[in-house]
């Protein structure tokens, strides 16, 4: 029928050695794979970005679009909408893999699960957080925000949205396969988003009040570093718990 099957010499890896390339190979694997999968369903990304635009455009309709009022609520609206957009796209992080059985293979890989999860979270940020960060200043113009606050808004979002993906990753893993996953995820994660919201929106407020946003941005930066170190471990633990 076909040539004799190549008889695989059953060599197993040295018992607990990390495979070649260590954590960066693992991070790159899940990053590239998740981006490829995301690109194959690009329309879904577009819809989630549209969600952000629509939510932001709703608020002026709900209040009188008088410029000074809009400028005052602008940062808050753009930030809360960024939180909701991140929340909306979190199920994509693990639920697909959980459903089709690939999450088991990822958890059973000799590569460290923490690095594989970090790659997935980075892919989520690139497809959800980054587009929102690039879009927010454009929408800020709708809110009569001046150039300087738009710049600070973009900077705060650039530092803040990765934290949203990192914390969100923990919540997404905890609620894998549960009933009412979406709203449960919101209840679990939004309280943890509060500090990011406060310092993120606060940065723009501080600039408008002339205080300068360095304090807020540096606190956000510190938050990002802590989240980058801690969140992958919590998310990996949550994945293992979900697979039990």
């Amino acid at each position: 029928m076909n040539t004799a099957a190549p008889v695989p010499a059953p060599a197993s890896l040295a018992d607990s050695a990390l495979p070649a390339g260590g954590i960066f190979a693992a991070l790159r694997w899940s990053l590239v794979r998740d981006l490829k999968v995301a690109m194959r369903s690009r329309s879904e990304l577009g819809v989630q970005l549209l969600f952000y635009i629509i939510v932001v455009s709703l608020f002026p309709l709900a209040s009188n679009p008088e410029r000074t009022l809009l400028a005052a609520i602008g940062p808050g609206v753009l930030w809360v909408a960024a939180l909701l957009a991140s929340l909306l796209s979190l199920p994509r992080l693990f639920a697909g893999d959980y459903g089709d059985g690939t999450l088991e293979q990822i958890a059973l890989s000799p590569h460290p699960l923490e690095a594989l999860v970090s790659g997935k979270i980075l892919a989520h940020w690139l497809t959800a957080g980054l587009p929102v960060t690039l879009l927010a200043p454009l929408l800020g113009i709708q809110y009569a925000m001046d150039g300087e606050s738009l710049a600070v808004l973009a900077a705060a979002l650039l530092i803040g949205t990765p934290i949203l993906s990192l914390l969100g990753g923990i919540g997404a893993a905890l609620t894998l396969g549960l009933r009412g996953g979406g709203s449960l995820l919101a209840l679990l994660i939004l309280p943890l988003y509060v500090p990011v919201l406060i310092f993120g929106a606060g940065a723009v407020e501080a600039v408008r009040a002339g205080l300068g946003a360095t304090a807020n941005l540096s606190l956000l930066g510190a938050g990002l570093l802590v989240a980058m170190v801690g969140a992958p471990f919590a998310a990996a633990a949550a994945v293992r718990i979900a697979l039990d």
Binding site: M1, N2, T3, A5, P6, V7, P8, A9, P10, A11, S12, L13, A14, D15, S16, A17, P19, A20, A25, W29, R33, K36, V37, R40, S41, G96, D97, D100, G101, T102, E104, Q105, I106, A107, L108, S109, P110, H111, L113, R240, L243, D244
Partner: protein, 204 residues
């Protein structure tokens, strides 16, 4: 050498099985049979290190292994239910990803020859979404030949396979076991494995 000592498992408050002990040495295969809901899949997932037993312990090469133990992760190839394929990726991309995930990236022609073994080379660049259950099961087999692992854990490997597929499965498992591998399968229809020391375990 994989040993299980008085394993027991629970689902909710009901006990699935208890005090289960068996040994599988290199060059041996174990067929686990039993009606639905007797815990075949639960047992396989425990051996793979995905879930912890309610009681008892599992030893791999003489050492006790806990869930997600690195030693076990380096040695196990787990073919569970459903087959781990991303619908968006093509058959070739799925296999290449699986090989890289296993820590030993495979060259494109190694992937192609693996697909050839399971006679799916024509479907090489089709997204997994459009493949039939039988074809997806064959990609699972191709992954077993590509990702070299000592311990094969197969959950209902025969489902959706046609006669040729089942014969191919039996041949691959036979060759794997004869060249010093181990294989444990949970299955309803027993696999005919010539010249292989076969144990069987029925879960009541």
């Amino acid at each position: 050498m994989l040993e299980a000592h008085n394993l027991s498992a629970e689902r909710g408050a009901t006990r699935l099985f208890s005090d289960l002990s068996f040994k599988v040495g290199t060059g041996e295969a174990l067929m686990i049979t039993g009606a639905n809901g007797t815990g075949k899949t639960t047992l396989l997932r425990m051996l793979a290190g995905l879930s912890a037993p309610a009681a008892g312990e599992i030893r791999w090469r003489g050492q006790i292994v806990k869930p997600f133990d690195p030693r076990l992760r380096g040695a196990v190839a787990f073919a569970g239910h459903p087959i781990a394929l991303k619908d968006e990726l093509t058959a070739e991309e799925n296999l290449a990803a699986a090989a890289a995930l296993s820590g030993e990236p495979a060259s494109p022609d190694a992937v192609r020859s693996a697909l050839e073994v399971v006679s799916l080379s024509r479907q090489r660049s089709l997204p997994a979404r459009v493949l039939s259950q039988g074809q997806r099961r064959r990609i699972g087999l191709a992954r077993l030949t590509l990702v070299r692992r000592v311990l094969w854990l197969l959950d209902e490997p025969v489902t959706a396979l046609d006669a040729a597929g089942t014969a191919l499965l039996a041949r691959l498992v036979g060759e794997h076991v004869q060249t010093g591998g181990l294989a444990i399968a949970a299955t309803h229809t027993p696999l005919i494995l010539p010249q292989v020391r076969l144990h069987s375990l029925a879960l009541a």
